[in-house]
């Protein structure tokens, strides 16, 4: 009897251990490097891939890791790196001319909508669902933050359809828009962290006055581009409950609340911003903020990696991070941008390109790019919650853990793409930016400038209204 009991117990124990072991190995498989994946990495040995990259911190984090991919697969990787505007223009020429120089390129949902419509971007689902090319268990697609991954899926519906249909690209970094401000000066001058945009205006003007002639209260990106609209401005615009395009595909940038918000935002730049604001790219503004020239910069959260690096920044350890100010009804939102890697439809090395995409966005590669080369913010939840990553970002902010808390809220609650999906979204943004410049230059009132831009946007959107059978 006793022997039987002992036998049963040992059997249960053995089965239990085996189950736990199996389970543990299943959990751990995606945490390991590409060598454990059930993928024939050398299947495309000898081929050469050309990757189009934008000059960006992500690119700097990927470059040192590429030799690992070459050693793993025997595929040679050549890359072309260009500044952002030149990059998108060169890419457009490559894709539209059918030259097909790039096999893989950096992109973002706002561009994917155009590329998908033009047939320049490959749907990744067939590659992902091909068992010979992909080890789903190891790759663990579910690890990606849902909103960020969904932003790269679109079913082609003008005005909606995001998160459905084709899978255009794999996100490699994500950014939300926060208030980055000088905590040391806030304490010194007795300022508050703005909770709404009226308070924001008061704070940046006071900071500008307190800082003297060579110091300014606020900086935003300002060049003539959709990107000027995209970050701080669009975040505030959405906090006021506004949308860029109505359901019937007309411009909605000139509603009463939109005008009210634009007036505050432009006045903040006029009264507390640097002269020549329209020359500032995001990069110029980031560098100048890190050089201690500005009190506040409402832009990308991940700039914290630069601000907090004492070798690159004079404000390391002096910056506070806060959620964007709320709209009139207390609504807090942030727009989102995600850089992603996509495969060109014109590529002659599609399977090799998929191997590269799979490797570059696998957990192991992305952990290395984040921990060793500062690729923030990661798009995989397991990396964001990795103890080493948490340890790295813990000191960022006015108190320990502040940056993590703010970005956690943006990941889970406030951050998402706020643009209305349509292939002409960057054109809409460019035309909208003109209104901001005209209001800033005091050539027109905010209302007149937005009305004029709305008319031009409506003309651009006309073909989509016709295509979708909407009222013109």
């Amino acid at each position: 009897m006793c022997r039987k009991k002992l036998f049963l117990m040992s059997t249960f124990l053995l089965v239990g251990l085996l189950f736990c072991g199996l389970n543990a190995s299943a959990v751990e498989k995606h945490m390991q490097g590409p060598e454990v994946a059930d993928v024939n990495w050398t299947a495309r040995k000898g081929e050469t891939l050309t990757i189009g990259l934008n000059k960006h911190p992500f690119t700097e984090s990927l470059r040192p890791l590429i030799p690992e991919f070459e050693a793993l697969t025997g595929i040679r990787v050549a890359y072309i790196i260009l500044p952002e505007q030149e990059y998108f223009e060169k890419l457009l020429i490559d894709l539209s001319s059918g030259a097909g120089v790039f096999d893989v390129y950096m992109t973002s949902p706002m561009f994917e909508w155009r590329y998908q419509y033009a047939g320049w971007i490959e749907d990744l689902w067939p590659y992902f669902n091909n068992a010979e090319l992909t080890d789903k268990e190891w790759y663990n697609r579910e690890d990606f933050i849902t909103t960020v991954m969904n932003a790269n899926n679109w079913d082609g519906t003008i005005g909606g359809g995001m998160g459905k249909g084709r899978w255009n690209a794999i996100p490699v970094m994500v950014e939300y828009y926060v208030q980055a401000y000088r905590e040391d000066l806030r304490k010194k001058w007795g300022l508050t962290v703005p909770k709404d945009y009226h308070e924001w205006y008061d704070v940046v003007v006071k900071a500008s006055e307190a800082g003297g002639p060579d110091f300014f209260g606020i900086v935003e990106r300002g060049i003539r581009s959709w990107s000027t609209v995209h970050s701080g401005y669009f975040t505030g615009f959405n906090s006021w409950g506004q949308k860029d395009i109505t359901e019937d595909l007309h411009a909605a940038i000139n509603t009463k609340p939109a005008i009210e918000f634009t007036e505050i935002w432009v006045k903040g730049l006029q009264d507390a911003g640097p002269p020549g604001w329209p020359t500032y790219t995001w990069y110029d503004a980031k560098q100048s903020f890190a050089a201690g020239r500005f009190y506040m910069y409402n832009d990308c959260d991940f700039f914290a990696a630069s601000y907090e690096d004492p070798e690159k920044s004079e404000v390391a350890g002096k910056v506070g991070y806060a959620l964007p100010p709320a709209g009139p009804d207390g609504r807090i939102v942030s727009n989102m941008w995600t850089w992603a890697l996509a495969m060109s439809s014109l590529s002659k090395h599609k399977e090799a390109a998929w191997l590269f995409l799979q490797w570059a966005t696998a957990r192991k590669t992305m952990v290395d790019s984040t921990l060793k080369h500062d690729n923030f913010n990661p798009t995989r939840r397991s990396i964001w919650n990795d103890p080493k990553v948490i340890e790295k970002i813990q000191p960022w902010g006015s108190r320990p853990g502040e940056y993590k808390e703010v970005v956690d809220l943006l990941y889970d609650k406030y951050g998402d793409i706020r643009w209305t999906p349509n292939p002409d979204v960057t054109t809409v943004g460019d035309l909208w930016c003109d209104a901001l410049h005209e209001a800033y230059a005091r050539q027109k009132s905010a209302e007149k400038a937005l009305n004029d831009s709305a008319k031009r946007i409506n003309r651009v959107m006309r073909k989509w209204r016709m295509a979708m059978g909407k009222k013109d």
Binding site: Q85, E89, L92, I93, S96, R114, Y117, A118, P213, D214, F216, G222, I223, R224, S225, P274, P275, G276, W277, P278, T279, Y280, D284, S288, A291, R293, P423, D424, T426, T427, D430, D434, H437, E438, Y440, A441, Q443, R456, R459, V460, K463
Partner: protein, 313 residues
């Protein structure tokens, strides 16, 4: 046997080629052959030109693959658009002001370099240096120097009480800034051409005027300018055409902004074509730009011929 057949075959082929050559290359056909390269070049230029004209009547957009004939719709859209007329105004303002300033400064420099002063050859070489800088590099360099907060110009200016200017970043100074960099880059060109013109002027009329006791100002007005007119027209022709079609300097400096203050026709067409893929509308703008350049060139060339004729007399 085989060895003997090869030269036989070679001989036949040789004879055939010689006969063909004689038939094709005859005294009648030789002029056509000589014209051939010229014809190829002409077709190479005219085909894209006429193709552009055709595309301006279509809704060609390479994102959506459309290219339907839509008649004058693009032209109507542009001619009824305030932005289009604004771009024409910007283009003309830029070109006329840059050309005028370059001509005046170039003239002043040429007159200075004409003087037999010590180190004249060194000055001549140094004065050419800005012209050797590619326009894009010039624009980027000036953007850094004229940066509102960290730029050296505002910094140095602050010592003499100059207010901090936004330069490229303010709507009221952006045009001035791009014209200034054009002037910095191309004044040496005007100076060198005018200097060559001044040096080639006949000396006798000047000596006679001096003997008659004419003042320097009188000689300059009544002799130098009239005799130099053909050269002045050449400078105006080159600089005006280049300023009218200037793209790289404006785009690298201001991207057409702020508030469209420097949105010339060429930059506007670039936005339409390369950012928004609206090729049909872009071609309308480029054709209008071509027409402006053509009319200006035509007028200046006529004036140049007239001046040359007068000088000959």
């Amino acid at each position: 046997m085989i060895a003997g057949q090869i030269p036989m075959r070679g001989k036949v082929a040789d004879n055939w080629l010689r006969r063909l050559k004689k038939r094709i290359i005859t005294p009648r056909t030789i002029p056509y052959f000589l014209y051939l390269p010229c014809f190829i070049v002409t077709v190479g230029i005219l085909y894209p030109f006429f193709r552009s004209i055709y595309l301006s009547f279509t809704d060609y957009n390479f994102t959506y693959g459309t290219g339907f004939f839509i008649g004058l719709e693009n032209y109507v859209l542009q001619f009824t658009s305030l932005d289009f007329w604004h771009s024409i105004r910007v283009t003309l303002t830029y070109a006329i002001s840059a050309t005028t300033i370059e001509l005046l400064f170039g003239f002043a420099i040429a007159l200075l370099l004409l003087k037999r002063i010590r180190g004249r050859t060194i000055y001549r070489a140094v004065i050419l240096l800005p012209f050797m800088i590619p326009p894009v590099i010039e624009a980027i360099m000036m953007r850094l120097m004229l940066a509102p907060v960290i730029g050296v110009v505002n910094y140095v200016g602050s010592f003499v009480g100059m207010p901090r200017l936004g330069w490229f970043g303010e709507a009221n100074t952006a045009m001035l800034s791009v014209v200034l960099i054009d002037v910095h880059n191309f004044t040496p060109f005007a100076a060198i051409i005018l200097l060559a013109g001044l040096e080639s002027l006949p000396s006798r009329p000047f000596e006679a005027a001096r003997v008659d006791g004419a003042s320097n100002w009188f000689i300059f007005r009544k002799l130098t300018i009239p005799l130099l007119k053909p050269v002045i027209y050449v400078v105006i022709l080159f600089r005006l055409i280049e300023s009218l079609v200037m793209f790289d300097m404006i785009y690298a400096g201001t991207k057409g902004g702020p508030a469209k203050a420097t949105m010339s026709l060429h930059v506007n067409a670039y936005y339409h074509a390369m950012r928004w893929t609206m090729m049909g509308e872009a071609f309308v703008q480029l054709i209008v730009l071509w027409a402006i350049v053509f009319i200006c060139s035509f007028i200046i060339v006529r004036a140049w011929r007239k001046a040359l004729g007068k000088r000959m007399v």
